[in-house]
Amino acid sequence: MFHTTFYLRRLHSLCGLFCLGAVLFEHIFTNSMAIFGPEALNGSLAMMELIPKPIFLALEIGAIATPLLFHGIYGIYIALQANNNPGRFGYVRNWNFALQRYTAWFLVVFLIWHVGYLRFYTKGVTGTPISYELLQNLFTSSPITTFLYILGMFAAIFHFCNGITTFCMTWGITKGPRSQNVISMISMGLCAAMCCITLVFMGSYFVR
């Protein structure tokens, strides 16, 4: 009667694209400051510290944690409904469909680790502020961590960009195959660009 499934599903779509998309952009933007050196990154991290603490915390809870938890938990429920079959039906869109779910599983694990370690443990428990030096140390000390972080970023970027394509279908914005293909190509282009930026700023920790 109340179409709970429908509204949850649409909410999942909206908060994925807008809330978590914004979070992803913010991460890439801030982290890409590393390319310009420690001052640039630390500077932009300091900019964020200017936001009054209660507001910052509210933002963190309302605009990041809640959407993330909802998208993640409901996403698990959605992913469980799929019986991925790109092996039998190896079409591009079916691969994307499967990858959307594979990346989702990876992101669940990755984000628990990432948020748990950096936000809760490092920043929350030990009270160490996040800084260029901390991140450089984190990455250069362990290639596995670096690798997992790059993979996590790639997964999030793909999941987001493919999400743009499916968002346009789910909301009936792109109807015909041509418009769907155009959006798909644009979002995959975006995906490639964002992945490149990620590689560059991750690499910059090693060359400096």
Partner: protein, 249 residues
Amino acid sequence: MADKMVRFIIERQDGPNEKPYNQEFDVPYRPALNVVASLMEIQKNPVTVDGKRVPPVVWECNCLEKVCGACMMVINGMARQACCALIDELKQPIHLQPARTFPVIRDLLIDRSVMFESLKKIQGWVEVDGSWEVKDAPIQNPYTAETAYEISHCMTCGCCLEACPNVGPQSDFIGPAPTVQAYLFNLHPLGKFDAPKRLNALMEKGGITSCGNSQNCVEVCPKSIKLTTYLAQLNRDVNKQALRNMFDK
């Protein structure tokens, strides 16, 4: 020519709860041979390659012209109609399996009644007062009618359900075919009176929200129905309906 044989590896199952097993058969090749014709040859001589006489393979077929939808099975991994699966176009040996998205009754025979039940859920009919004479039917835009004609080709074969990763025992998705049928009736000048009912039905659990846009359906549809286009259109309509539900009351 006469000696040329076509090898079939058929996944068989003696009953709904039995274990599947494979059996191999050779069928004499002839030009334009298709999978159904091959299964008919096996009926005439139900002997495996090991020389064992076995019960003939059980499957469903009616028209052999690709309009009834009965003979859908998985041929070399692909869900398709067996009657128009020409041997010349298939890699040998040819693997035949039942479409396991649906419960298997025996061998390649499956139970697709769930699809017909889904057509009830989406109210797949025009609510006419009766079969008696009422008045002239309304004139229809010929272009709209052509779209309706395309969708109305759907023969409920189940290829799209078999290919769809979101259809199966793990999910309650009714599948692309029944979903898109809702659009067919929403297009009709009389059928559209009940469009809100159908759209609301599609908002239910297992409705259009379960579509994950893998788009396998449109790839495998034997009738080349532009399923994804109509799914997107329905998404648009359903969203509008949701807004109406929220704000019109």
